[in-house]
Amino acid sequence: MLWNLPFITVVVLTFIGLVTVLLKKNIIKILLGINILESAVNLFIVALGYREGGVAPIFTLAPSELMVLPTPQALVLTSIVIGVATSALVLSFAMVLQKKYGTVDIDKIRRLHG
């Protein structure tokens, strides 16, 4: 079981993130769970593109000619930036909600103004 340790880490992180998003009642903890899920998915995509004994795909003074696949790294770059944007937006929502309602408990934020 030690030869696919990255994939077992992905499964453990996905499980922790999913349990946190579903079962917690504080907005900040739910946001942390979303971040853990995002990290697990990024690790999964990068671990899919590994070749045994390969180096980084850069030709400037490279140690050998056997390189890992460059396409998953490009996809993960985009995904990390989108995670940053999501976290910034949810944090600003949490700040404005705390100012209006006095609490960040999602069971108590239920009124719609109209």
């Binding site: 696919n4 593109g49 045994e52 396409t71 490009a74 996809l75 770059l77 910034a88």
Partner: protein
Amino acid sequence: MKKMLVVGASLLIMAAFFGMIALNLTFGSPRLTDMDDYFLRHGQELTGSNNECTAVVFDFRGFDTLGESTVLFCAIVGVGLMFRKMQGGEEYEDE
């Protein structure tokens, strides 16, 4: 009490499902590498850069980077809209 039992049983089923997926994947030998072999072999003469990741991000897959820049821009405009000050001392928008 019953709610905790139902939640625990469903979490156990989810954990078993994920565990079966994790043990069946191989690490270190990807199966379909035709596109990336083409990128690695012809990337230097087509784009002229030494860094293959930057060449893939900005030249071979430039549309994804365009979409990502637009998403970042819209999220920052959204953060700027949340912290805006109302004019004339009113508190809600439709008063």
